[in-house]
Assembly symmetry: C2
Homo-oligomer: 469 residues x 2
């Protein structure tokens, strides 16, 4: 890209589009030399995007133009289907070069998504030491700090001077995932402190690391959940976090770019659970209908069967409810309002729990707050509904069944339904968290099935009191 | 903290707790010298946590122990209520020192949360140039790149050598939010390229920046939405992104720690919208019941009133439905199953849209996938329901109303209800995105209200066909 393009451009997307057009042209002109230069200059992510738009033969040809280092970084940025296409097509020797260039955490990520036969081929192509390292990573529990860390970090000793440290970074820094945060370890590889390149640059050359390092290191253990790692990153505004094993030895680091992926993944999981979907690591676009069905049917089935209680209640009281015309048509509205009210509370509480905004010990405070919100919501809905039933249903639509007593019954039921729904909606997630369950599953679907049954009972009870059914 | 504590500790939380206990002890012993030393050594986030547990007088006393720089960073890490407590208590001179030390983006964040009278006092305490800068930031649209950027970055010129650049970083780096990514600008402050400290360290001292800088800069414009900024960060694994004004001049940078907050905030907003809550910047724990009510009542009200259609349908068909005993009790189950099915599809589609996994142009592919999923779900639910109605409701519970024809009616209705719900659930969000609306509002509550009415019509229609009601 020419210099003035950045200067004049107002939008990165426009630049990108122009870039792709030029690349396509170079490819068609078979000007491989220029094409290669341009690709080496580009962001790896953009090269990956460009590659994935090409058909197989062309993609492979372009991929082979790249230098070893660029090829590895571009490969890590491709989506699994494109990674498969490339692995299937390249030679064993090329594959071996590729896997040695990849950062271990990227290699592990890729392996987790590939079909077993390709994983085997990849592992065969790796050198024994790389294979060992990958195997070790694959053994860490899923979603643990160990599974997302990388082994490529800069380690320093506390007796080094600033000058020696910078020299070491210059020597070994090239292949490290980050050089900006360096970790000080003792002879038995235990973590002693952390030094940033900023510290190094802003201090005298002959200062000793020990005087300069921060002993207050925020660290994770290999088996720690990735969600807790990502919370620490955002609390402490970290760029990299050391990961230690059970003996306190430094075994890897987690970098901020991996944590951003974790945050996205954890939010997606919460959102899916809240909608009664079993979370999956596979993106929607790449999941088959069968896989999607498998993630969705358990909750649908469970909730459908749970609705038996509501059916039983309706069966028992159908005759009595039908005795006063005009009562049955408002059942769906009551249940819907209950479900929506409960879902709001559950969502607010689940999200606040997951952001650390509230904790299980705040249960009483949350309940008291929800109780007041529920009262306000219930009351306002009730008043509006009362007016609406008399004016719209009664007068405007001329429904003779809407008597003052029927409108009062429905409106009074709303208050209690909303209050019950909001209390259950806030209590269930916070209770789940308290006993160590994931609060996100105590969400909308479960709560609406529960409130359906209770709403009906409340409605029947109030109708008995007011209308004597 | 002593050296061996890190070595022996298995868990950062345990270290933290011990630290707080020691600090409390020092505070009680009035050993302010040691306390100050310890606090200066600690992470600002931990100091902020410690401060917020203290009562007013003690908090202020401890806050005053801190050095100017630490005080500013700790202050930025406090929650708004604690920030208010401190601003109210300190002198104008202290306040002025504090505001000058804060990064502009932090100062702006704090101002946005404070009551107007405190904002005025803060602005009065700032120097004219700081006040100008803050005012300029406050003018950027909410949630734009301009509103989250910071002005404290390192700028270099392309004719500088590596040695000169490192010298410049050493000279001006202290107060910059990041020194690791430096931006190359020309005489009119237009952005020309980017250089990382890694590039500088890994190249010879006398190399010229122009030969080394990356001209392919991923940048944002001041008015660009923060969501698009955060997508670029995670696509390109950035640490910092330059922000340019309408003339292409570099005016600030966004750093990765701010982007992590943006990601969290955007995910929260999506989650809230999906549950029919109007999003708010204020965390749940600090919102009053009135504020929560204001965010929740609009959707509750709208959905309650929309349920009028369902009531009207039920009013018209109540007599015919009641003609065959056993039909009415299954209405809530049908509506619930429809609502849950639609919510699953809507959630999956909304999240995939927001992650960029699918795009509006994939609409047909999504519909075809959902159609197959819906068929699988509908069929399996239907079969299980048929068996369950006959065995459990009919035989086990001895409900004589459950005839073969009634069970067939309900089970057949399930297939169509699920298929309708899943199609609507996937179509509405993708259609909203297509016409430029936020897909997240086309979620669970709206879809369940819509499916309620249609589920009922489907049920009635099938009952007419099979049972001739």
């Amino acid at each position: 890209m020419e210099e003035n393009e950045i200067l004049d451009a107002m939008d990165y997307d426009a630049i990108q589009e122009k870039q792709y057009d030029e690349l396509t042209q170079l490819l068609e002109q078979k000007d491989h030399k220029t094409l290669r230069e341009r690709l080496e200059d580009m962001n790896e992510f953009d090269v990956a995007e460009f590659l994935s738009e090409l058909e197989d033969a062309r993609m492979l040809a372009v991929f082979r133009l790249l230098s070893k280092e660029t090829a590895a970084e571009v490969f890590a940025n491709l989506e699994p289907p494109e990674q498969e296409r490339i692995i299937t097509a390249i030679t064993d020797q090329e594959l071996s070069g590729l896997i040695e260039e990849l950062y271990v955490d990227d290699a592990v990520d890729i392996m987790e998504e590939l079909p077993a036969n390709l994983v085997k081929r990849l592992m065969r192509s790796a050198t024994p030491s790389t294979r060992n390292l990958i195997n070790q990573y694959l053994r860490y529990p899923e979603d643990s700090a160990g599974s997302i860390m990388t082994a490529e970090f800069v380690d320093l000793k506390k007796y080094m001077s600033v000058k020696e440290s910078i020299a070491r970074i210059r020597r070994i820094g090239e292949d490290k995932e980050t050089i900006y945060v360096c970790f000080v370890t003792n002879a038995s590889r235990k973590l002693e402190g952390v030094v940033t390149v900023k510290d190094l640059l802003l201090h005298d050359d002959d200062m000793i690391i020990e005087e300069l390092m921060d002993r207050n290191v925020v660290f994770a253990t290999t088996t720690e959940d990735q969600e807790s790692v990502s919370e620490k990153f955002s609390d402490y505004d970290l760029m990299a976090m050391p990961v230690v094993d059970m003996e306190g030895r430094l075994v890897g680091i987690v970098t901020v770019d991996d944590v951003m992926d974790v945050m996205e993944q954890e939010a997606t999981e919460d959102i899916e659970k809240m909608a009664g979907i079993n979370p999956s690591d596979k993106p929607y676009s790449r999941s088959s209908p069968w896989e999607i069905w498998k993630n969705r049917i358990p909750w649908l089935m469970f909730l459908m069967l749970s609705a038996t209680f509501t059916s039983m209640i309706l069966t028992s009281f159908e005759t009595r409810l039908s005795a006063v015309a005009g009562l049955v048509p408002f059942i769906p509205m009551l249940m819907g309002t209950g479900g929506n009210s409960g879902a709001q509370s559950a969502t607010a509480v689940i999200r606040s729990l997951s952001l650390g905004d509230i904790e299980p010990r705040d249960a009483l405070r949350v309940l008291w707050k929800e109780w007041r919100v529920a009262f306000l919501c219930g009351l306002s809905l009730s008043v509006i509904n009362f007016g609406k039933m008399l004016l719209v249903d009664g007068l405007l639509l001329g429904n003779a069944n809407i008597t003052l007593a029927v409108a009062a019954t429905v409106s009074l039921a709303i208050v209690f339904v909303v209050m019950f729904a909001k209390l259950v909606g806030s209590l269930l997630p916070i209770g789940a968290e308290k006993i160590g369950l994931d609060p996100a599953v105590m969400a909308n679907p479960l709560i609406s099935t529960l409130t359906d049954a209770v709403s009906l009972l409340i409605y029947i009870f109030i109708a008995m009191l007011i209308l004597g059914i």
